[in-house]
């Protein structure tokens, strides 16, 4: 199986009924159901790790938006993934402080260790490496996020430790 196949398996399934219901309720909470769209996309992503075309269309329908409109929202935010990602997403800051503090070295190290370039996923579907804008952790640059955990003052050694600890 290619990376893409490992990742995309659940994408064309319809959303589970419970999740559909949850999204509908999210919408009902707002004066305009569409106001709930970001939260809804996040919910889908928590379940499926990314938002597929089919799911996007379903959510749009539930919130009374057009698919094109919702896709505009989804693609606006870089933490809503419109393409399959691995089990873990590693966001490596590429803004100025981290740049000054040597994030390039980290990127080279990651690429060597995982065999992927930014934007790619390891063939086993474990890690997706993505660049990100400033994580607001400049005082501990270079910084990265693995999943929901923020790490600062990262060097190659610490990076290995982080990957292994979470692995």
């Amino acid at each position: 199986m290619s990376t893409a196949e490992t990742l995309a398996d659940s994408a064309s399934e319809t959303l589970p009924d419970a999740l559909r219901e949850e999204i509908r309720l999210l919408g009902q909470h707002e004066a305009h159901p569409r106001a709930a769209c970001i939260e809804a996309l996040q919910r889908v992503q928590r379940e499926f790790r990314w938002v597929s075309d089919a799911h996007l269309r379903e959510v749009a329908g539930l919130l009374g938006m057009s698919a094109a409109d919702l896709d505009g929202v989804a693609t606006y935010f870089n933490l809503i993934f419109r393409r399959p990602v691995g089990r873990r997403v590693l966001l490596l800051c590429d803004s100025v402080s981290c740049w000054l503090m040597g994030r390039e070295r980290l990127e080279a190290h990651l690429s060597a260790r995982l065999g992927i370039r930014p934007g790619q996923t390891t063939p086993d579907g474990d890690v997706t490496l993505l660049p990100t804008v400033c994580l607001g952790h400049c005082d501990h640059a270079p910084a990265l996020m693995l999943g929901d955990a923020l790490h600062g003052d990262v060097d190659t050694q610490k990076l290995d430790a982080i990957l292994e600890a979470a692995g």
């Binding site: 075309d53 057009s66 693609t75």
Partner: protein, 685 residues
């Protein structure tokens, strides 16, 4: 009202107006890209910056509400500098490929770069490039030129009602596209070309054809439906290169439908450009004189009541009145314009016109559609309904089979006349909706009238209108929606069977011995009896011409001055844009010339005289504009409500793109028909 001072000029504007509107009221031109009067405000291009006293920095005037006492400056050093900076940003990623861009010469970006652009660029880095998108056979895209104003997205979502366009990603990566790559499913898609301020969306058929200053513009009226859209025909020499809408708030605002905009390439195909006479079973080219003699011969010894005439859907009023006068002098009562067999009562004009008026739709507060599909029969009028729908609280009921999504929420009440009875008797819930409305509208379409119980349907709709209070002294909510451009004029002229005369059906199968078809192509010519002598006068070698014994080559609407009456009953004039090809002639002149050959000379020999004759036949032809009126006489049209049948209403017109001789001859319309009616092939592009 708010008092605003703009560059020292005092103006008063309504509360809630934008600063931009106040500036316009003061006669100040504000540059803009994203703002468009008929769309929602986006405020994303920042070109419209002005200074407002006490505001710390320049404000985007299009989205900034006025306040009483506000002082606005549109021409200060700060404003000029701000606009220059915005322009520089816009041009950073713009390809500046004006020499190969079809928008050149009529491009907002180009024009405003003259006022606010720099003569050189400070940007040495790589420009971005964007992949072009497929939007169908009509709209060409060069997305690298896009400045992300989102006018197109707002037009598609708000006016056209097909929310298929969207903007994805953010900042420099933002792109416009359809969510899935497919042709935009709208009959109004051509308006995207007009609305895009740059050359990102242009016309596919017009690509690389001309620069705007080469074109001669003639005002005309679209005849592809009965809305009477005001258009401007742009021609170079003998060739029409494009057709654009003219603004008329009472009719089409500034929109037009795709069939009217793009079917003109049919003008040069399958044309009848010389007379033909059938000899020994075969049509042979002939001279005008021979053709006239052949007709005179065919008429010899034929009694008036064995002669008939049928007017088609694209005819101008002038030719119809001339043919009617000719038939009268020949003693024939057999005239008809209803190729579809629709039933009307023409004793009062309000029985066959759209009385609420198109602009009036915006004042109505409930709508019932009976046997019509406005999206395809009158796309621009449908946009008006959608506009009213978007304003909120507008219940819409439908009786019949609209072929597709109407672009607004509508409740299907039934598909046959029984639903009308239900509403009349109050058995259906929608009856209450209509009754409680202050200004309800009922629109009855041709599909409801072109059937055996058409007269009963018409009477029932009128009765319903009356019973729900749609007929009041200051409101007329009874409407007939036509889709044949010539129909209302024909009814006004009385192009209908006279006393004892035959209808279209009666003239078929040998019902008459001589039959004059004036551009009549919408029935199967095999229905005409084998022994009938057929004269076809018209512009295209379509259904009618194939059966003709004599063909008289006429002019399309672009090739003659003409009078058209739209579904509202609005009389409008079209000017001639180009010359008819070959030996083809203006239609009323052909009839006039023939009348001379048989010694029954019609008493007019110039356009003014024909038009005077029109006014004589029916004074409405002398009326300019459309006075709004309430309903005076409440008595309804002839027709027995008890005679309502039980058959379901037919689904309106068939293929939107191929409804008449011109559109059927148009390669662009054929391509649209292929793409839109056979969805499988879409992926091929």
């Amino acid at each position: 009202m708010a008092r605003v001072t703009v560059d020292g000029i005092q103006v008063e504007v309504a509360n809630g107006s934008s600063v931009l509107q106040a500036c316009e009221a003061a006669g100040k031109e504000i540059p803009r890209f994203c703002y468009h009067e008929r769309l929602s405000i986006a405020g994303n291009c920042r070109m419209c910056l002005v200074e407002v006293e006490k505001a710390p920095k320049p404000v985007a005037s299009c989205g900034y509400p006025v306040m009483d006492g506000m002082v606005v400056k549109t021409d200060t050093a700060v404003v000029r500098k701000a606009r220059r900076a915005v322009m520089e940003f816009l041009l950073i990623n713009h390809p500046l490929d004006c020499p190969i861009c079809d928008q050149g010469g009529e491009c907002d970006l180009q024009d405003q770069a003259y006022s606010y652009g720099a003569d050189h660029s400070r940007y040495a880095e790589n420009k971005r490039a964007v992949k072009d998108k497929y939007l169908g056979p009509l709209v060409k895209t060069v997305m690298t030129r896009c400045i992300q104003c989102t006018r197109c997205v707002r037009f598609a979502t708000e006016v056209a009602g097909v929310p298929e366009l969207g903007a994805t990603s953010r900042g420099e990566n933002m792109e416009i596209g359809t969510y899935v790559e497919k042709a935009l499913t709208s009959e109004l898609s051509g308006n995207l070309i007009d609305i895009c301020p740059v050359g990102a969306l242009t016309s596919k058929p017009y690509a690389f054809m001309a620069r705007p200053w080469e074109l001669k513009r003639s005002d005309s009226i679209d005849v592809m439906d009965a809305v009477g859209t005001n258009i401007s025909i742009h021609a170079r020499g003998a060739e029409v290169l494009r057709i654009l809408p003219r603004t008329n708030d009472e009719v089409n605002e500034e929109w037009m439908a795709d069939k009217g905009r793009f079917s003109f390439d049919g003008f040069r195909r399958r044309r009848l450009d010389q007379p033909w006479v059938r000899a020994h079973g075969k049509l042979q080219p002939a001279r005008w004189q021979d053709a006239f003699v052949a007709i005179a011969h065919g008429l010899q010894g034929v009694h008036g009541d064995r002669i008939g005439a049928i007017a088609g859907d694209l005819c101008d009023a002038e030719s119809m009145v001339a043919l009617r006068d000719l038939m009268v002098s020949l003693g024939s009562p057999n005239l008809d314009c209803r190729q579809d067999g629709a039933r009307y009562d023409t004793t009062r004009r309000e029985f066959y016109t759209f009385n609420t008026s198109i602009a009036g739709i915006e004042e109505s507060d409930a709508l019932l559609l009976v046997g019509c599909d406005p999206r395809h029969e009158a796309p621009v009028l449908n946009a008006r309904i959608r506009k009213r729908y978007l304003a909120g609280r507008y219940p819409i009921g439908v009786i019949g089979h609209p072929t597709a999504d109407l672009t607004y929420g509508a409740e299907i009440i039934g598909d046959r006349p029984a639903a009308l009875t239900g509403l009349l008797e109050g058995g259906l819930a929608f009856a209450e909706v209509l009754k409680s409305a202050k200004r309800p509208m009922i629109v009855v379409g041709q599909a409801a009238l072109a059937r055996d119980d058409g007269a009963a349907v018409l009477a029932a709709c009128w009765k319903l209108a009356e019973s729900v209070g749609a007929l009041a002294d200051d409101w007329h909510g009874f409407n007939v929606l036509h889709h044949a451009a010539s129909r209302v004029a024909a009814l006004d002229i009385g192009f209908l069977p006279g006393r004892g005369g035959r209808s279209v059906a009666g003239m078929m199968s040998g019902g008459v011995d001589v039959l004059w078809l004036l551009g009549a192509d919408e029935f199967h010519p095999a229905r005409i009896g084998p022994d009938t002598f057929v004269i076809y006068q018209g512009h295209h070698g379509d259904a009618g011409a194939s059966r003709a014994d004599v063909i008289l080559p006429g002019a399309t609407y672009a090739e003659k001055p003409g009078t058209y009456v739209n579904t509202e009953g609005r009389v409008q004039r079209a000017f001639q844009a180009i010359m008819p090809p070959g030996e083809a002639k203006e239609d009323w002149r052909i009839i006039r010339a023939f009348s001379e050959v048989i010694g029954m000379t019609l008493p007019y020999d110039n356009l003014d005289a024909v038009r005077a004759r029109l006014t004589e036949v029916n004074p409405v032809f002398g009326v300019q504009g459309l006075p709004r009126f309430g309903s005076g006489d409440r008595s309804g049209p002839a027709g027995d409500v008890a005679a309502l049948g039980n058959a379901a209403f037919a689904p309106g017109i068939g293929d939107y793109y191929l409804t008449n001789a011109i559109s059927r001859a148009s390669p662009t319309m054929q391509e649209c028909s292929r793409v839109y009616t056979q969805p499988v092939v879409q992926a091929a592009e």
